[in-house]
């Protein structure tokens, strides 16, 4: 790619605009945008004007809000109108949401009255709802049409539609009666009736449903588009599969962020400001820091025991970390399984029984290795005479017991969170670690007190 940007810069410098255009029109919108990102900002308006209308709109949609704003500010009103009129309604609504007020005013002023009305309607749906990501451009047919009439209608009106592969059959109240794919239309006879061909068991989603629900339905049923209906079952739009993929990716990112104790952000990292990164990270850090008071309390109450057997101190970080890691393995596995629908809250019994067995296997194997490691590395290699066999025994028994507790806590908490209508993802690693830290210390001192007869 690097050479392409150099070539384009050189062509611009030499004013060989026709050649630059010839190169650009062989490319896809998404790729052109990547190239533009690497070029100096001041060459963008010029390059953009070289593109044919439709391709220009494709490139525009792929740009960041900052770049879009820059371009719009340089546009004449007629240039702006050309781009906006080429946009699909859902992309235009997204654009309006991202731009500052004065730019929004210009966009709405230049847009077709129809488009303006649609944008305003789309903006009314709550953020992250199916309504907010749908497009209102789709082909609707009537049940009484023949295939030939339907194809004629698609030819007449279909040029602007984002997806013409699925057509929707409605009655005169705009209520959704059925769907038909272009595939069925093409394979049917000209005088077949739509009513006889259409699929009547329509799967649709409500405008107010979560966008994630809509995306998961598209994925589940292998649809390329999902109809969106209002509360009277009137067809108001469709969610297309490309938007569903974006939603699914976004939701996976949010889950991952929550698992790492970060509040989800909606911008790419490099474009997020330092202050907003800070404000997304600090709440959980604060909460987890303060809750570490429990570990201090436990350590404080066993201070004498530690003074009597100072070798015990050396293994505290290892025990806490191994416990934390074991617990987060279980919790992250269950969180992901819950989010994919592989595990339901009612499976809790099966989950616990499985984790108990995994924990016993992990506990026994790690406990044995741990005993060996403590005796070989910490006692022999590091020449620490305080690390005696009983101490090693205490450490490896604590290890096994901690792993059991950690896995149990790790697998049950996300399910309980889900039952309490909380997001299971917050029960991931950092949260589990804090709980398991305290547990592992309690187990450690309990085992030590009974085996070593501490003061």
């Amino acid at each position: 790619m690097a050479s392409l940007e150099t070539a384009l810069s050189a062509l611009l410098a030499e004013k060989k605009y026709a050649t630059a255009r010839d190169i650009l029109i062989t490319m896809n919108g998404a790729d052109i945008e990547s190239v533009f990102e690497e070029l100096p900002e001041e060459s963008l308006p010029l390059l953009f004007r070289l593109l044919p209308k439709e391709l220009a709109a494709e490139v525009f949609v792929e740009m960041d809000p900052e770049e879009q704003e820059l371009l719009i500010k340089g546009f004449s009103d007629s240039e702006l109108k050309e781009v906006v009129d080429e946009l699909y309604a859902d992309d235009a609504a997204d654009l309006v949401e991202e731009m500052p007020a004065n730019v929004v005013k210009r966009i709405l002023k230049t847009a077709d009255p129809d488009l303006r009305k649609t944008i305003n309607e789309l903006l009314k749906y709550p953020e992250d709802s199916a309504g907010s990501i749908m497009t209102t451009e789709m082909v609707t047919l009537r049940p009484a049409m023949t295939v030939a009439e339907a194809i004629k209608r698609i030819r007449r009106t279909g040029f602007d539609k984002e997806t013409v592969y699925n057509c929707y059959i409605t009655d005169d109240q705009r209520r959704l009666l059925g769907t038909i794919t272009i595939r069925t239309l093409i394979l049917a006879e000209d005088d077949d009736l739509i009513a006889d061909l259409m699929e009547e068991n329509v799967i649709s989603v409500g405008t107010l449903a979560d966008q994630e629900t809509a995306a998961e339905m598209l994925a589940r049923y292998d649809f390329t588009a999902l109809p969106v209906v209002d509360q009277e079952n009137r067809l108001v739009g469709i969610v297309t599969v490309d938007d569903a993929i974006d939603v699914l990716t976004e939701e996976a990112t949010e889950d991952i962020e929550r698992m790492a104790a970060i509040l989800p952000s909606d911008k790419p990292y490099l474009r997020t400001g330092v202050l907003s990164i800070w404000s997304n990270r600090i709440p959980w850090l604060l909460l987890l820091m303060v809750s570490a008071t429990f570990t201090s309390m436990i350590l404080s109450s066993f201070e004498n025991a530690l003074a009597a057997q100072s070798a015990l101190l050396l293994f505290i970080p290892m025990l806490m970390d191994t416990g934390g890691n074991s617990g987060s393995q279980a919790s992250v596995t269950i969180i992901r399984a819950l989010s994919l629908g592989d595990v339901e809250p009612r499976d809790i019994g099966e989950v616990v029984w499985k984790e108990v067995r995994v924990a016993l296997l992990c506990g026994v194997s790690l406990g044995l290795v741990c005993f060996g490691k403590v005796m070989l590395i910490d006692r022999l290699l590091m020449h620490n005479p305080e690390v005696t066999v009983p101490v090693a025994l205490v450490v490896c028994l604590t290890m096994a017991a901690t792993i059991l507790c950690a896995k149990l806590v790790g697998c049950t908490l996300p399910i309980l969170a889900k039952l309490a209508k909380l997001d299971p993802a917050v029960c991931a690693s950092p949260f589990i670690t804090t709980i398991v830290d305290a547990l592992s210390l309690l187990i450690y001192f309990a085992v030590a007190s009974s085996l070593l007869r501490l003061v």
Copy 2:
């Protein structure tokens, strides 16, 4: 859903098969499979036989391998043939991969010779390659065809094709020349030439490319299908968007598992055996446990300091955990940004500069709160006179310095891993925690030695 299963069971018990069938045929394959999962295994063959051929195949594809095997074992050869012949080639190949040898033999024996050949070809591609997830059923056209001829060809051959929305234009060597959508065909005149309408700048993927690459290309370009070509640019298949969604979901799960120090598994949790869960979790637990030897070494060398100022001990878990959490926030953010392409290795300078500023903000704010917490909770509330102002100062300075180091390590390690062609996801929370534990202890004792004048 629960009532539907009860209703079906009741209908079966009363032998009202026609009614059961009437209910089932209103449903989608994925939904029927969910209902079947809840019913006793012995009723499956009966219910399955009630379904019309095409729907039966849809349901079959959604089932787990275990259920599929059970059904196939109950099938007569002609029943098996009916289902297999309805499957798309890629689904049939997936089935063959999952079944035990004797079942595979029966499937290949009953399949059409054409299908058998295709299955065998698909199985030759390496796992996780674009070739292994593609389907070989697609519509190919010639450039010299008119639109009317093309539509006639689609009508004649299109019934079996998994996606008829994209057609591919090839020469007589099967080399890919262009693509055309049904949308373009429908909107064109009958006597237009395919050569004049087709999109010649075709984006395609090689058979041996990673399936993730293919899925990301589909997502990037908003395609519903992506052509797959061999090394001579001959068209051999297409990857469809529904398979791309599955791949993207699978890859997100793998990333999440790696971040939690688990080796990726390819089965849903409830269907993974205890031993294989154990074997996916134990390697990292072992490695991380052994690497905790460093923290033991550090603690051991500062044993005297801790004995002199035993209050220092109380804050070790809090410092280690906060450091670990800060570090994993940074690493997980960068890992996800790398995997989404929001951050590239060459952005390392920008990333470090951003994280330094975030770390300073987090360090100062947490340090201040930490000082307050230590003085108020640990000193006053818990009546611990050993927690003096200098001790609190040491703790809060260590806190700030640890956060800075943790964020730096957290943001650079994933990028370095990527540069070294390793998976950045392994540098997530558990790995960072182990490093940061050691760092935080070193900082703690360095600060304590200089401020408290320890022995």
